[in-house]
Symmetry: C2
Subunit: 387 residues, 2 copies
């Protein structure tokens, strides 16, 4: 995720996990603020919240420094966020979330870039285009249709929620009809289906197609849960029948900075959580194998060889080899078992013979290949043994 | 820090910032728990604390999984920790801290390794051995001297605090005498100075010397603030007259896991904060220059060239170049100014000429050098221009 963001020109930022509780009131989903935050009063009598999402934080930061910053501004972070809700599939009380946002671009190129970045991250994770699809919508189209159907604010809210759950719902038509009556329900469905061919969304899709991004289409049921979106919204769905759910999403929020008493700055961004990413990778057999950072274990024959082992380790570390010295005092066979269990690919033993000869036996555990070498040749042989 | 830890065979771990408040009671400094934590009751009626340090967390984790883990176990993390105290030089309410710990080693080689790692990190940060010094002590020696002088528990606590502040104190002798009377004060000073030549500390220093670590010496005033240390303790001091203070430290805590109802596991570790590290680097002129992740800005002549610019960006990103496309719509000269301000080293412009010819002018801003090339040669030329 980090590498993909940086290839797209995004710079990393960071912020405290604690924010004034005030930051979320009226800016994010009311359900989250009232029922799902960790909010408390600190020793200085301030009401503080463990951030439930990053967007209000970055909006606050950009608003505070807008005169010093250069636009378009591209920032990303991989940050932990907190929600007090029942832990369930795809949701934990704390999880880590990539957030990438571009500020200062009114045109559709901002959406193109953000969706391209999301698409690229999926490819970098090992997915094919057929493993996922990107569904886009535009809040302004929804608002237009709502207006044509003369909905009350309360009805709009109910319908937004119905649309958001549409893909998990067998009785969507019935529920819609219950909410606004059969006549307006029909008008609404007609309006949504003709709005789907808007010029704005067509331009977006056409630019994405030119970049070879073809698993994207318009879906008028995409609304996103946050109140601050003002235009394009999108969600990335897993196409696997075993995990057919929304993975993550984002959209345009041009007015959020106004809430900090600043002029509006156009903004588009998305957030992608580690838990849903993990579930996606698992469902598609793409979870990477665990590989330890440690590349070489030095096995120590007897306690008296520790000083020699430490010096050898020091020499190898200067050549950028990641070396653990085995201080366990166990028999050599057990030390090798430990290296295998830990997944460390190379071992070298240090005893009388090695001290006297200055030559070591480097063993590559996965293949069993052995090389007898002076210490200074170990780093190069490790590289070549790994091919 | 990450690289040094991994060269020493340490694997990264992570944990939630929220811990049960109970975790800190009786295990860490009483002052911190009672006066300096962010502690609150969550929606599930649990008393939770934003971790003020990492050692109780790692001890909890290791205790829970000790049967599955392989020892010696080497773990590190770079984690944020929280203390509600007056912000001051070297201290903030939230800061990031490297923690590295080795579990399962009784012998002095664990202290040798942990101190070597701390020393290596200082060198990797750009310090010379003369820029800092490592002061070591042993809690067991202190306890022996205290016992010989028949101190009460309360007197021990007062003297530990006096020793901890000794280097900032002009009237240490006087205060010591006030606390325990002149006779025992003299006995105490004598005891401390003869204890300093213990066999254990001498073995530690001798092994460190063999590894070329010579800026280390015994200092009986080093006590460390936490109650859980059981043996060797050490602190790294800045030798600069402008910043002559303790930078960080650690020590041996063999009994902490017993508090989780488990058998004791020997453990040695240290924590190093980002704020003191920053102050050290600043005092020694070692702060690194900010370099953005972005390597190339594509300047866009006219709106109609955006699709072309996006495709060029996509091609370059596939070659691992970090590319930002300038969507500002500003004049080309202003776009170049933006690249300069952001510290992005290369620019390339996209307009009619480039689209028609397929050749681009790559400019290296720091030198002004220009290269006219087809797109596919840009990545290699960027590498060679950077030398």
């Amino acid at each position: 995720m980090k590498n993909a963001c940086e290839r797209f020109g995004y710079e990393s930022y960071d912020a405290s996990v604690l924010e004034p509780a005030e930051l979320y009131r009226g800016k994010t989903s009311e359900e989250i603020v009232a029922e799902q935050t960790y909010t408390f009063t600190d020793r200085g009598d301030r009401e503080v919240t463990l951030r439930p999402e990053m967007t209000p934080t970055i909006a606050r930061m950009v608003a505070a420094k807008r005169r010093e910053l250069t636009f378009p501004l591209r920032w990303y972070t991989i940050a932990n966020v907190f929600r007090y809700e029942r832990p369930q599939r795809g949701r934990l009380r704390e999880h880590w979330q990539l957030n990438a946002d571009i500020f200062g671009v009114e045109g559709v190129e901002a959406e193109v870039e953000i969706i391209s970045l999301a698409h690229q991250i999926m490819l970098d994770l090992g997915a094919n285009e057929s493993d996922f699809e990107i569904r886009v919508n535009d809040r302004r189209l929804l608002n237009g249709v709502f207006k044509d159907c003369s909905l009350t604010e309360e009805e709009e809210r109910v319908i937004m929620r119905l649309l958001d759950k549409r893909h998990d719902m067998a009785d969507f038509d019935e529920k819609l009809s219950d909410a606004v009556g059969p006549e307006r329900a029909n008008k609404l469905k007609g309006g949504l289906s003709s709005a789907a061919s808007s010029a704005h969304l067509e331009e977006l899709l056409s630019l994405l197609y030119k970049l070879g991004i073809t698993n994207v289409h318009v879906d008028m049921s995409i609304v996103r849960g946050f109140d601050y979106y003002t235009g394009t919204v999108f969600e990335v769905f897993d196409t696997s029948p075993d995990n057919n759910r929304s993975l993550f999403g984002g959209g345009r929020y041009d007015n959020l900075l106004q809430m900090f008493g600043e002029d509006a700055i156009p903004a588009v961004g998305f957030g992608m959580g580690d838990v849903t990413a993990h579930d996606f990778l698992e469902a598609h057999g793409l979870l990477p194998r665990y590989v330890p950072a440690t590349e070489l274990m030095i096995c120590v024959m007897e306690k008296e060889h520790i000083a020699h082992a430490l010096r050898l380790a020091q020499d190898l570390r200067r050549e950028d080899v990641a070396v653990a010295v085995n201080f366990s005092g166990k028999k050599i066979g057990d030390q090798v078992k430990q290296a295998n269990k830990l997944g460390i690919p190379f071992i070298v033993a240090v005893g009388d013979k090695e001290r006297d000869s200055g030559h070591f036996t480097l063993k590559h555990l996965p293949t069993g290949n052995e090389f007898i070498l002076p210490a200074e040749n170990i780093p190069a042989h490790m590289l070549s043994a790994l091919g």
